[in-house]
Symmetry: C2
Subunit: 190 residues, 2 copies
């Protein structure tokens, strides 16, 4: 197995989800996940610091995509337009072939308080990346923080609708719809 | 020492902050905190599940105050008016005599990633309490979630300004000012 084998993180995630589904999150070890993926424990730890992290495999590139898209948005783009572009770019990573994996990850995470805690940290990292990129564009606080929180809410709402039972709409469509609803709601807060 | 001694949680927090200041957070044990407070380890664990929790001593009553004030706001109050009332009520717990303790807590928390993670969880609990109370009033999502996030941002911003070096303004004033700024910013997001 080459050290540079592509998709190593995804193979580890798939192996982990298989094992968590079979025996529960708590009873599965990193060594077992690596073995199921046909990799070594050493390789696992080259990619993830612990068992929890494998469930959040896609978060780091996501933060980068969000920040880079905001940075690259046209100079005239409003904060929400920049956020909308970022969410749309991020949505490309959420193709229909990933929906079932999204459901499985969410099912494991929602059953463990330490995983929910880690999820909050990841969410804060995403909104922090968006807020930082908006500030770089000259958007002052609190508008930058607020726009980023709205982006984060749109992302979460869109994700939960995307993995809902029976859902067959595209992630990009759901996340943009959630963003539109949030922007409309800003006018109703009084 | 009576089991019903008032302010037990605050005595434990004060003892913990003294010890963390002297020897650093990592090197202090729960037994030492209890001893410094003139209490038993058993008493500590009646109030807090672990060493981290003592730093977030005031969060539970805070969530309750926020939720109850939102529930008790006049029927005609807008979501932001209900949030403003809640933040003002919560601010009563942040008298000037607590400012230095707030600084000490923040200094310990910001130096430890697991404490920052726990802080995010507490923040999510506060915004969750506000969002839930707004929904109970018939505010639909996403307005309820959005108003609660704005309330959470106002709370955090006000808190950081309150503990800033040289700050001498009241927490209530700072948190309301932060809320006003956020509401004004909603109109600039485009």
């Amino acid at each position: 197995m080459s050290r540079w084998e592509p998709n190593t993180r995804e193979r580890l995630l798939d192996a982990a989800l298989d094992l968590f589904g079979e025996r529960g999150y708590d009873d599965v070890t990193v060594a077992e996940i690596a073995e199921r993926a046909g990799l070594t424990k050493r390789t696992f730890f080259r990619h993830f610091s612990d068992k929890r992290e494998v469930l959040f495999a896609g978060q780091e590139p996501l933060s980068r995509i969000l920040a880079e898209t905001i940075a690259g948005a046209p100079a005239a783009a409003t904060p929400i337009e920049a956020i909308a572009a970022a969410l749309t770019a991020a949505a490309e990573a959420f193709g229909p072939e990933r929906r079932e994996r999204g459901r499985q990850v969410q099912s494991v995470v929602s059953g463990h308080s330490d995983l929910r805690e880690r999820e909050l940290l990841k969410h804060a990292t995403l909104t922090g990346a968006m807020a930082g990129a908006l500030r770089e564009r000259g958007v002052a606080d609190p508008a930058a923080s607020l726009a980023a929180e709205i982006g984060g809410l749109a992302f979460s709402t869109g994700f939960h609708r995307w993995i809902a039972p029976g859902s067959d709409r595209a992630f990009a469509e759901l996340v943009r719809e959630a963003l539109d609803e949030l922007v409309a709601a800003t006018a109703t807060l009084g």
